[in-house]
Assembly symmetry: C2
Homo-oligomer: 275 residues x 2
């Protein structure tokens, strides 16, 4: 197959590297900044590049690796170039908004939203890795009407690329789970390091500080789009978290050790059970 | 020197193992449950045990490794047995309450509060490690009137035991910093896994979930004491965190991308600068 990678940043270039390393497919690549495309060609990360519409015409599967807001406009701009019955997918962290926008388009290819769940605190082509997805989950969110063989082809490709696990679900379920497992963790990490005590942490911090603050190294532009595109599920998670924090505060202020113990035993039990 | 370790759980036994591994001192050990003491003797983790008051009489330095509430009563119960001018210290995670309680006692030994900053999600003798403190910070909080040579002796012992860094500060500064670097992270982790979505995380979680939820594996009894003994600094941190979370929520609800970007850029900058 010809697999086209549009956008050769951290995720796109890592997808290209995984394809080159683990499959026999031909990897076409394109990046808005041409110097990155040239570098990828020189490094052998992609096999071919060229005019974007020519590349799109050749592709059996196209991965669009842009910021959330840029994905649908790009697909629609080139919608007449995609090969009939080919698969077009993306890699961004929210799915409902994009899948809804793509749902009623008159197109003769198949759009299936996807989310390769991996990242680093550093972005861009130079930080891409051929093993970024080795322990990662590939989630995709086909429509009810997406032909089964198209979903299977995309899932099979992800497996061939080396993803540890694949999950097929609805875009809505993806978005509410990601609000919990990923987005709130990023909101938290930023909120945490905004404490006036943060600049003095050295000498007083160990694993807990390191773990909670890690993802405060955030790409502000990208996460702003991701948060605003997943407003309701994320706000629900912030509300839940704040209400649990306030239960801790209430029990601490009241010196209610029994209630605190119950709360922590419950948290501990959940964590022990769910991993 | 004779160094006595009272309480051979995770921290106590790890201190004993570090002493045996990295120093030539004689390690005396005592645990409330005698079977643990016997195991430690068999394992060579301690050199000697016996009657607690006899051990205390022999010790040049005594580490008390109990839950916070049990430390001062234990010291006072045996206060006439401690060797004159010897150093008595503890290893619990809050310092102001304990140091204040010990401050005006009529004693002829020196109490210096301490906090070897390391832990594991699993506790007890069987999980102790001889390298638990290899990358850890040893914080101690002498009084203004503590003789300099006594503080130096304790700090020197910590260095000999292999701690990566030693910090001497006031008990109040210790407690406010620990509220931020450690306690709030534990409150957070428990609050986080109490989300109704937590049990469904598998298939949708990666590094962020793992890091934020890690310390939800908590010893509820011990942390209840630690939280209640550090009420004001911890409540201040919860308030700060909740107020920052609410700023995120407010900007997300209002779709204010500019304000969100500013907030995240600030968080990102702090994290980049402070590590």
């Amino acid at each position: 197959m010809n697999v086209l990678i549009c956008g050769l940043g951290l995720i796109g270039a890592s997808l290209a590297k995984a394809l080159k390393k683990n499959t026999e497919h031909t990897v076409l690549g394109w990046n808005r900044t041409p110097s990155v495309t040239e570098k990828a060609l020189r490094d052998g990360v992609i096999d071919e590049s060229g005019d974007i519409d020519e590349l799109i015409k050749m592709a059996d599967v196209t991965f669009i690796n842009f910021y959330p807001e840029a994905i649908v406009p790009f697909i629609l701009e080139h919608k007449n170039s995609f090969k009939k019955d080919s698969i077009v997918t993306d890699s961004c962290g929210i799915k409902t908004k994009i899948c809804n926008e793509m749902k009623n388009q008159e197109i003769d290819f198949y759009f299936i939203g996807a989310h390769p769940m991996a990242g680093r605190e550093v972005g861009g082509y130079d930080n891409s890795l051929d093993n970024l997805f080795d322990n990662a989950i590939f989630i995709c969110t086909p429509y009810d009407e997406t032909p089964r063989n198209k979903t299977d082809a995309l899932v099979g490709l992800a497996q061939d690329m080396g993803f540890a696990r694949t999950v097929v679900t609805t875009c809505e379920h993806h978005d509410e789970m990601i609000a919990f497992t990923s987005q709130i963790a990023h909101v938290l990490a930023c909120s945490y390091v905004l404490s006036p005590l943060a600049p003095m942490h050295a000498g007083y911090s160990a694993g807990s500080y390191r773990d909670v603050s890690r993802v405060a190294r955030i790409n502000a532009d990208m996460w702003t789009e991701l948060f605003l595109d997943n407003k309701e599920p994320l706000v629900r998670e912030i509300d839940d978290l704040v209400s649990n924090l306030m239960r801790f505060k209430y029990n601490i202020v009241n010196g209610d050790g029994d209630a605190l113990r119950v709360l922590m035993k419950k948290g501990n039990k959940i964590k022990e059970e769910i991993g």
